[in-house]
């Protein structure tokens, strides 16, 4: 059973989506490591190292995602997991912005997949399967 680390980054306390992502991924057969809300980049990375997880799914709902996610790929490299997959989703920037622009910004930060507002977790399941080679 593959492990996936999930959590909500920064000073963000939106817990509902997080609980539903946990439930959905568990139902889909993954070992879900949920570090919950108010989590730092380090929390995510440590959890991934501890559980040998190939994928970290970062949620950011409250709008500070851009500030909170900066430098995360570098930290992964430093921590010795340079190839860990990084997904980000939720309401990751402040306000209604052109989402193609937003995607570019997050790709440039080293994220592998970037999901727009209200992307139901069910729709991301196929991406996960593909990326984890199933």
């Amino acid at each position: 059973m593959k492990s996936i680390v999930i959590g909500v980054i920064g000073a963000d306390v939106h817990a509902v989506g997080n609980k539903i992502i946990e439930y959905t991924l568990q139902n889909a057969g993954y070992n879900v490591v949920n570090i919950g809300v108010l989590s730092s980049q380090e929390d995510f990375i440590n959890a991934a190292i501890e559980t040998n997880a190939p994928l970290i799914m970062v949620s950011s709902l409250y709008g500070h995602g851009e500030i909170d996610c900066r430098g995360m790929r570098d930290k992964c490299i430093e921590a010795g997991i340079p190839h860990v997959l990084l997904y980000v989703g939720g309401n990751i920037v402040v306000g209604k912005q052109d989402f193609d622009e937003v995607k570019k910004r997050f790709y440039a930060m080293g994220f592998n997949r970037v999901y727009g507002p209200g992307t139901n977790i069910d729709t991301a399941l196929s991406d996960i399967k593909e990326d984890l080679g199933e």
């Binding site: 920064g10 000073a11 963000d12 306390v13 817990a15 509902v16 609980k19 539903i20 439930y23 919950g36 809300v37 108010l38 409250y62 709008g63 500070h64 851009e66 500030i67 309401n91 920037v93 402040v94 306000g95 209604k96 912005q97 507002p117 209200g118 139901n120």
Partner: protein
């Protein structure tokens, strides 16, 4: 210091105040001297006083309107508030950014700077502490309606000092409602104690003859919260505030979706808050109510979002809530533009004004829901006082610890997180998993029957899947998350 539901003495308060004001540079502003702030607050005209305007609306049976809004840069924030006032807002807010809420003022400072440089908001609200009293006064002076801070801050002591000294005559929050949905590791003892300070500050101003409104945050997680839970929290916070000398309290509730249950919740919220205040000897508190437009996930489509806003307004108006907090068509995407926010106000105000002379008629059905909520709330309040051995503050902490009261979907570790809510066949919010909730067997039976009837209608067993489906339902245009809706 041990937590107790007891008014802080003036010495205790002033002692603590020194530490609070010393916690960030803006705390040493001389405008925070009571010798400055008291006369300043006394000089404010009545139409800028939140407490007075609410009391007036209550007398007239009207429902007033307040949006949510806050951007990091002061001049932009003022522009925004002026626009909202012109769009018809009866009160304006200042929604505070998330770093400030966690007292992370250094990060907030970074956010302000970057927002100024990049010329786009990188903070999700107005960092009130970093801006300090003078900037907040400037905001207050730029509008013609009362102004309130809205946040979600477990330790809002410095924030409260700054806003009130700046002439903001209302503060949202409370030791429970700004902890459970907004924090992860903060002990309830700490947040309640810190909010006693905020309330004591208001109590001090009241002693000087200055009216200031306090608003416990009603909707909690905004996600299928059973009315008895949020009403109980609101009543507890009203009692805690009253003990510290607060005299003008607005208790709140977030729309559930079943109109009868929503109206019942607003009615009982007012009735029971009044009742408990009197029972515990607080006879001179003016209580009003605030109805929050749908607080859960919104639909993306803007026409649908406006429809949801209007439907929320209909329920608010028919319930005769004193105030309504509005949402916008951008809700599901991100912080709204000024224009989207204004449209939300216009649509909302249109409905409440049109319905101002009407109310939801008394009926057996409404009575049943009201009775049910009242019995449940009494049950929870009894349990709280019992474990607190008569002390409300201690009781609240212990009751949460033991799961006797429990909020669904809350991030806080001090919350048991065992109960699961779900809707019944008419969309009313019931409870399917009680955890350790302090309900009597007959109350549990009522909930079980309601949920069983729904499960039967949907030909499926009772499970967490009902809850999950209900969480998604409204954003896809339904209230009850029936299984057949999918694909």
């Amino acid at each position: 210091m041990e937590l107790k539901n007891k008014k802080l003495t003036m010495e205790e308060f002033l002692e603590e105040r020194k530490l609070v004001l010393a916690s960030w540079p803006t705390g040493s502003d001389p405008l925070l001297d009571f010798s400055v702030s008291v006369p300043f607050l006394k000089s404010l005209p009545e139409h800028k006083n939140f407490a007075i305007k609410l009391q007036h609306a209550k007398g007239q049976g009207r429902t007033l309107i307040q949006p949510r809004a806050g951007v990091p840069v002061v001049s932009e924030h003022i522009k925004l508030l002026k626009y909202l006032e012109q769009s018809g807002a009866d009160f304006v807010p200042s929604t505070i950014d998330s770093y400030t809420r966690q007292n992370r003022y250094m990060e907030a400072e970074k956010g302000i700077k970057e927002s100024e440089i990049l010329n786009r908001a990188l903070l999700n609200g107005f960092p009130v502490v970093n801006h300090g009293v003078d900037k907040c006064r400037w905001v207050m002076e730029s509008v013609n309606v009362p102004i309130q801070a809205r946040h979600g801050t477990p330790d809002a002591r410095l924030l409260a000092e700054i806003i009130h000294a700046a002439g903001w005559t209302s503060n949202e929050g409370g030791g429970i409602s700004y902890n459970i949905p907004y924090a992860k590791h903060v002990p309830l003892e700490t947040s309640i104690r810190h909010w006693q300070y905020c309330d004591r500050l208001v109590g001090f101003y009241e002693e000087q003859g200055i009216r200031i409104n306090r608003e416990p945050y009603g909707p909690l997680t905004g996600t299928i919260v059973p009315p008895c839970i949020s009403n109980t929290v609101a009543i507890c916070e009203a009692l805690l505030a009253a003990e510290q000398g607060v005299k003008n309290i607005t208790v709140g509730y977030g729309m559930g979706g079943n109109m009868t249950q929503d109206v019942a919740a607003i009615h009982t919220l007012l009735e029971q808050t009044d009742e408990y205040l009197h029972r515990f000897g607080y006879h001179d508190v003016v209580v009003t109510t605030v109805f929050h437009q749908w607080m859960g996930g919104f639909p993306k489509d803007e026409a649908q979002a406006t429809a949801l806003i209007s439907l929320s307004s209909t329920t608010a108006a028919m319930s005769k809530a004193t105030k309504m907090i509005t949402k916008t068509t951008h809700e599901s995407i991100g912080i709204p533009t000024m224009e989207a926010n204004g449209e939300g106000i216009k649509a909302s105000k249109f409905v409440v004004t049109l319905l101002q002379d009407q109310h939801y008629p008394a009926s057996a059905k409404l009575e049943l829901e009201k009775d049910q909520i009242k019995r449940e709330v009494n049950c929870l309040m009894d349990a709280i006082y019992a474990v607190g051995e008569g002390d409300l503050a201690i009781g609240v902490c212990k009751a949460f610890q033991q799961g006797l009261i429990d909020v669904p979907f809350a991030p806080a570790k001090v919350n048991a997180g065992k109960i699961l809510p779900a809707r019944d066949n008419e969309g009313a919010i019931r409870i399917l998993e009680f955890g350790n909730l302090a309900f009597t067997p007959d109350i549990k039976e009522f909930h079980r029957e309601k949920i069983q009837a729904r499960a039967d209608q949907e030909h499926r067993p009772i499970s967490f899947q009902l809850t999950v489906d209900d969480v998604y339902a409204v954003s896809t245009g339904h209230l009850v998350g029936r299984p057949q809706l999918k694909g």
